[in-house]
């Protein structure tokens, strides 16, 4: 358990302030959070509560104002970024799944997934091998040569999950991944995320206000007025 806690992602006292002086807005007011490998947690909250800001801080896209973040065994933020190359951090340690799949339209399915390991310096053949393995695991290998525009919405989302997983990151940030999908497909995506989290020992944070999928989380972080509150979820089994 101690080893598991060392992995995943841990956040302590994370703050984010926009602006200065009288116009300053505190979007995050000391967020605490911890997600262990293999776990899928929900991050829910009303609009303007700070979900996206937290996601951007976790994704090393914007710099928090203060706090502490550990990814795996590595401290990545301690009141300042501890890693000089945030792009490399995002590429190697964090996977992203977006509301819309945002696949690169001019790359086929395999290359959309293989692009990340290639960017990380892996050979083309190794990158494509990894990509195909994941596509196989996500049941979209039969569309490996298809262009994104030729895929259904569900298939596109599965490809984007494969892309998020391909560099074996310790954490995946999923931003409303089921928003454009119907109930059946939304639950399928969550099921896949759970499977992948378990299979690849990845911590997954799903930002959502999709009522259909909230009951599937075993643990939920509610975010209100820039602060998180941990709750036990229903952890409802998938039908």
């Amino acid at each position: 358990m101690v080893d598991e806690l060392k992995k995943g992602i841990r956040i302590k006292g994370l703050r984010k302030r926009y602006g200065k002086g009288d116009t300053a807005v505190d979007a995050l007011k000391g967020v605490d959070m911890q997600v262990t490998p293999g776990e899928v947690v929900g991050l829910i909250g009303p609009s303007g509560s700070g979900k996206s800001t937290l996601l951007k801080c976790l994704g090393a896209v914007i710099e928090p104002t203060a706090g502490h973040m550990t990814l795996g065994e590595e401290v990545i933020y301690d009141n300042t970024w501890m890693m000089p190359d945030l792009r490399a951090l995002r590429r190697d340690k964090i996977g992203f799944v977006f509301q819309a799949p945002y696949l690169i339209p001019f790359l086929d399915v395999t290359d959309n997934v293989a692009l990340l390991p290639m960017l990380a310096g892996r050979s083309n053949s190794e990158s494509r091998k990894r990509a195909l393995e994941l596509l196989e695991a996500l049941d979209v290998a039969h569309r490996a040569k298809a262009m994104p525009s030729q895929l259904s919405g569900g298939e596109q989302q599965r490809v984007s999950i494969a892309r998020a997983l391909v560099n074996r990151p310790p954490v995946i940030l999923a931003d409303e991944p089921t928003a454009p999908l119907d109930s059946e497909r939304a639950l399928a995506v969550i099921r896949i995320l759970n499977q992948m989290a378990h299979q690849y020992e990845t911590a997954i944070i799903v930002v959502t206000h999709d009522e259909k999928i909230i009951p599937t989380f075993k643990r939920i972080y509610h975010i209100r007025d820039g602060k998180t509150q941990e709750e036990a979820g229903e952890g409802r089994a998938f039908e």
Binding site: R90, F96, F98, Y102, L107, L115, L116, L119, M147
Partner: protein, 400 residues
């Protein structure tokens, strides 16, 4: 690593190809403009080459016979022939005019030459059909660009001439095709007045008491006879003897005959440096404007294409793509577009150059310079798009 630019071009090849064709036509126009200038320079050199002369003897203090009017007496060549180092000397006249051919007319430079064989100064160097002028009157050798046919009768002023020979690439410095006629006919054509004017001139002479003296019979007839001939030519073309330097032969003619003499190098400077200098500047201005327009078009296209990919660029940045990879993608696309445009432009210019009425010379060196310029323009034009792409916030990929 995947070539992102290459994949994007392949994915939306239609957009790139059609944009490239549009740009290519503009590049084709630019290459053609350069070809027009080269053609003018080549025409000037060909004019000098085909004249078969080493020296041009013209009126003192003029830049004749091509850049300025020059007038010499037609017997001056005899004294020039006697100068040391002179091998051959021949009178020549030049007159640019419209030559009637049936119902239409053709702009041409009428060259008056002393009938003689090939190698004589001023003679058409070679014929592609027919023969040289052998008679003293009413025969012509025409450049094929005039459209005249062998045996065809053409009208120069009031006289008809029979085309007895056809030549090729004999053009004036302005690119007008040449028509060679006997010197005497050309001298007459240069100053030929209409009948009414001749009657008027004779009447005016007759009423002039200085020419019509009661005590000097025959004076009036002599004056009228002198008025009805043209003893002038425009230049004497000189060939120097082997072993003599043109400048060494020219200097005594300048000194002792008080005439202006130009060597081949000096004449080339006059033609290229003075006669077509303004046209060259004009074309140069066009080239600069076309280069700016091309750069603006490439910049606009690349910028628009980049704006259309903002979300993809945000995603690429978010997932860890380096700035230089994104900049490289945009730069490669700009260069790709330039390459497509150049190929289309080169092909287009090659196809339409022969259709131009004047000679368009597309030199490989110009093509290489053009390609390098296009690539440089594409690099510069992509700067704006690259700046925009690098400013894209990866957070744009995350909603909220």
């Amino acid at each position: 690593m995947i070539s992102l630019a290459g994949r994007d071009i392949l994915h939306s090849w239609g957009k790139f190809v059609f944009t490239g064709i549009g740009l290519g036509l503009l590049i084709g126009v630019t290459l053609t403009m350069a070809g027009v200038y080269r053609g003018m320079v080549d025409d000037a050199k060909v004019l000098l080459d085909n004249s078969g002369a080493d020296l041009w003897v013209v009126q003192q203090d003029t830049l004749g016979p091509y850049a300025e009017p020059s007038s010499l007496y037609d017997d001056v060549y005899r004294t020039i022939l006697a100068m040391p180092g002179v091998s051959r000397a021949a009178n020549v006249t030049y007159l640019t005019m419209q030559i009637r051919q049936g119902d239409s007319d053709v702009r041409a430079m009428v060259v008056g030459v002393v009938p003689g064989g090939p190698g004589e100064p001023g003679q058409p160097g070679y014929l592609i059909d027919g023969r040289q002028i052998t008679r003293g009157h009413y025969e012509a050798v025409a450049d094929i660009a005039t459209g005249f046919k062998l045996g065809q009768r053409i009208l120069i002023r009031r006289n008809h001439y029979t085309v007895v020979g056809l030549t090729h690439r004999m053009v004036s410095s302005g690119g007008d095709p040449m028509v060679f006629i006997p010197l005497k006919d050309a001298q007459e054509a240069q100053f030929l007045k209409d009948n009414d004017a001749i009657v008027q001139q004779r009447r005016r002479t007759a009423v002039n008491p200085a020419f019509n003296r009661p005590g000097t019979p025959g004076l009036l007839d002599a004056v009228i006879a002198s008025q009805s001939v043209n003893p002038y030519i425009n230049a004497v073309l000189v060939q120097v003897k082997p072993g003599f330097q043109p400048e060494a032969v020219a200097e005594p003619i300048r000194r002792w005959k008080r005439l202006q003499v130009y060597t081949r190098i000096q004449m080339e400077e006059i033609l290229i440096g003075k006669l077509i200098a303004t046209a060259a500047k004009q074309i140069g201005m066009f080239l600069v404007i076309l280069a700016i327009v091309s750069a603006a078009i490439v910049a606009f296209i690349i910028y628009t294409l980049t704006l259309g990919k903002i979300r993809e660029i945000a995603v690429l940045k978010l997932i860890g793509t380096r700035n230089r990879t994104i900049a490289g993608m945009i730069l490669q696309q700009a260069l790709g577009l330039g390459a497509i445009g150049f190929v289309v432009g080169k092909i287009a210019a090659t196809f339409w150059a022969p259709i131009f009425p004047k000679y368009v010379l597309l030199e490989p060196g110009d093509a290489v310079r053009g390609f390098i310029t296009v690539m440089v323009i594409c690099v510069l034009a992509s700067v704006l798009a690259i700046r925009t792409a690098l400013k894209v916030d990866p957070a744009e990929a995350i909603g909220g």
